[in-house]
C-alpha cells in the first residue's frame, strides 16, 4: 500500500538537552507516527518565518504508535527526533518550547527492511546517527519476541554498536537497554567502552563471533558509512546505510538531494555464488588492504576497477536507506 505523506501541525511534547550540543524533541503527530517506519524521516520547519528558509530533515529516534487505550500523551502517536547543533537552523531549534507547534511533513522516504536470511542483525551507529537505529532495534526485537520460543535460536539476534567522540556523546544507551539490547561502545578518547571507532567494534565483532548470516545496518557520518560498506563487502554481508544530503522538497520533486549510485543498482555487482565461510579467512584489523580480500571477492574486483557507471538517486525518495553496495563510494 502506498502511504502518502501527511502535512500536520505537531505540538512539541518534550524538548531536552541530552549532552552539550545534542537534543531530543518529541512531537505529537499521530497521523504521521502511525505510518512511520524506522529509517524514514520528516521535514520540519523550525519556525514560522521565512528564515531559515528550508525545512529540515530528521530521522526518528523513537516511534510511539497510537494506542486504543490512551493514558499518556505518547499513546496518541508521537515521534521523537535527536538533533545536534550544526548550523543556524538547529541553533534556532534549541529555543523551541514545549507546547509550541511546528509544521511537519512525513513520513518520507524508504526506511530499513529485513535483509534476507538474516540470523544476526548488527546495527552500527556513529554519534547522533544512533537515533534512527533505535526504533529499528526495537522493531527487530519485537518481531523476535513474536516468534514461538522453539524457533528462537533461528530468529535474528540484534547487536548494537555505538561510536562517539567521548562518553557524553554516546546516546540512546538507556533506550536500547530497555528494549533488551546490550550495546557495545567505542569512544575516540576511551572515556567509555573501548578506545576507537564504531567500525573497530564491528570488525572485532565479525572476527570473534564470525559473520555467518549477519546483516549490517548503519547510520552515522559519511566516512563511517563508507568504512562499514567496505567491511560489509569484505565479509560479503548485506548492509544498509542511511544516507544524508542537503534537501529541499523531501518528496522527490526538486532533485536536490542527489547521491551517486551504481547504474545497474544492486545487479551491478555479481553476487558471489557462495558466501565466504565464517572465520575461514580472518583479516586482522588495519591489514585489510585490497590485496587481503578473500577469494570469494575476486569476481568483484574487475567490476569495481572499471570506470564506474552511475546515476543520481534521490536520497529523499529512493533512500534515505540504501543498500551499501548500490552506493558509489568516493
Amino acid at each position: 500500500m502506498k502511504i502518502h505523506p501527511r502535512e500536520v501541525k505537531a505540538r512539541i511534547l518534550l524538548h531536552r538537552r541530552m549532552a552539550s550540543d545534542y537534543f531530543r524533541l518529541r512531537l505529537l503527530c499521530p497521523e504521521i507516527a502511525r505510518w512511520a517506519q524506522p529509517g524514514q524521516f520528516i521535514l520540519m520547519r523550525v519556525n514560522e518565518l521565512r528564515d531559515p528558509f528550508l525545512r529540515r530533515p530528521f530521522g526518528f529516534s523513537r516511534i510511539f504508535l497510537p494506542k486504543g487505550k490512551r493514558t499518556k500523551p505518547e499513546d496518541e502517536g508521537v515521534l521523537e527526533i535527536y538533533y545536534k547543533i550544526v548550523g543556524r537552523g538547529t541553533s534556532l531549534m534549541t529555543q523551541l518550547r514545549e507546547g509550541q507547534r511546528l509544521d511537519v511533513l512525513g513520513p518520507l522516504g524508504k526506511g530499513f527492511w529485513v535483509s534476507e536470511g538474516q540470523k544476526r542483525a548488527i546495527l552500527i551507529g556513529g554519534g547522533i546517527g544512533i537515533g534512527p537505529l533505535i526504533p529499528w532495534a526495537e522493531q527487530l526485537q519485537r518481531e523476535r519476541r513474536k516468534r514461538p520460543p522453539k524457533s528462537l535460536e533461528e530468529s535474528p539476534e540484534v547487536f548494537v554498536l555505538i561510536g562517539g567522540k567521548n562518553r557524553d556523546k554516546i546516546l540512546g544507551m538507556r533506550e536500547l537497554k530497555k528494549i533488551g539490547c546490550e550495546p557495545q561502545v567505542a569512544t575516540e578518547d576511551g572515556s567509555l567502552g573501548i578506545q576507537g571507532l564504531a567500525t573497530d567494534l564491528l570488525e572485532r565483532e565479525l572476527m570473534t563471533q564470525g559473520s555467518k548470516s549477519a546483516s549490517l545496518y548503519a547510520c552515522g557520518p559519511m566516512p563511517m558509512l563508507a568504512r562499514v560498506a567496505q567491511i560489509a563487502e569484505q565479509f560479503d554481508l548485506p548492509c544498509q546505510v542511511l544516507m544524508e544530503a542537503r534537501m529541499a522538497c523531501g518528496v522527490g520533486a526538486c532533485l536536490g538531494c542527489a547521491v551517486k549510485v551504481k547504474e545497474y543498482g544492486s545487479g551491478g555487482i555479481p553476487a558471489s555464488p557462495e558466501p565466504a565461510a565464517a572465520g575461514e579467512r580472518i583479516v586482522p584489523a588495519g591489514e585489510c588492504g585490497e590485496g587481503e580480500m578473500g577469494s570469494a571477492k575476486e569476481s568483484v574486483i574487475p567490476v569495481i576497477a572499471e570506470v564506474p557507471a552511475f546515476r543520481y538517486a534521490r536520497v529523499c525518495k529512493e533512500g534515505p536507506v540504501f543498500e551499501a553496495k548500490e552506493i558509489l563510494w568516493e
Binding site: L54, A248, A258, F310
Partner: protein
Amino acid sequence: MGRGGGQKKEGPSLEIKLGPLMLKNPVMAASGTFGYGEEYAGIVPLGNLGAIITKGLSLEPRKGNPPPRLAETPSGMLNAIGLENVGLKIFLKEKMPFLRKARCPVLVNIFGARAEEYAELARKLSEVEGVAGVEINVSCPNLKAGGAIFASEARSVHQVVSKVRRATSSFVMVKLSPNVADIVKIARAAEEAGADAVSLINTLTGLAIDARTRTPILGNITGGLSGPAIKPIGLRMVWQAAQCVRIPVVGMGGIGSAEDALEYLIAGATAVQVGTAHFIDPKAGMKIVDGIQHYMRVNDISNLTELIGSLKVRRDSGPVA
C-alpha cells in the same frame, strides 16, 4: 484535505485567458519545483492549480550536476540541479499517464543544446494528448552548453522561438532569464518570433562559499538563486516587460503568499508561477489561489483583468524612460 482549496461556487471568477490558453485560475506550479506532478500526489490536490509546468525536459535523459546541488541562503536558496531529467521517451511512457489524470493543464518545460532540438521536442509534444503547450527554457543558468547561451541574446532567443513556433501550433511560452542587460529586448524578441506568452524570472546566478574550507558549497560552483530574496527583481522585470509586449507576461520569483502573487498581477503579470515556496509548503500554490479570491471578494473585484497591470504610478514619479 482537498475541498478547502480552489474555487467556491459563488464569488469572483479567477478564470484567465493566457493567449489561446484558458486557465481556471492564474496560479501555476513552476518548472523544476513540482517534478512531474506525481511527487505531490496525495499531498496536494493538483486539480486546484491553474497549470502544472513539468521539470525541464530534453530529448535524451540527463544525469545532472554533481552534489551538493543545494545551498540555503538568506530568504532563499541556490540550486544547481543541472537539468537532470528522464528524457522524452520515459516522460511520455511513465510520466504522462499520471499527468493526463491531473485535471489541470500540463505545460512541458523544454530545453536543448541547439534550436533544432527545441523544435523537435515541441513538435513531438504537440502530438501528445494531455499536453497543453510548452514552456521554452532559454534561461537555465546551470548548463554550459544549453539555455544560458540562448537567453542572453535577443537574436538567439528569436531563432529558438521561431523554430519552435514553426514546429507546433500549441501554446508556446518562453521562460526568460534575469541574467541579462535588457529584459525588454529579449521579451520583444520572443514576441516577434511568435511566442504566445513570456514567463519571468528564472533564477539569478549566484555563488555560495564555505569560508572555513574556502570551497564553493555547490558541486557546480554557481547556482540559481530563488525564493523571497529575488521577489523585488522579479517584480521590476515583470513590470518592465509587461509595458513593452502585447503578449501575456507570467510572473514569478519569490512568490510564497497571495500578497506576493497579487503584487505580480498588479505589476502587469496575467498569471503567476509558484516555485520554491512549494518546498516549504506543498500547498502554497492552492493557498495562494484561495488568497487571491479572498482579496478580490474583499475589494469587490469581479474579474482578474481589473487587477492586471493596475499599478498606480504618478506621472512625475520614477526615472524617465
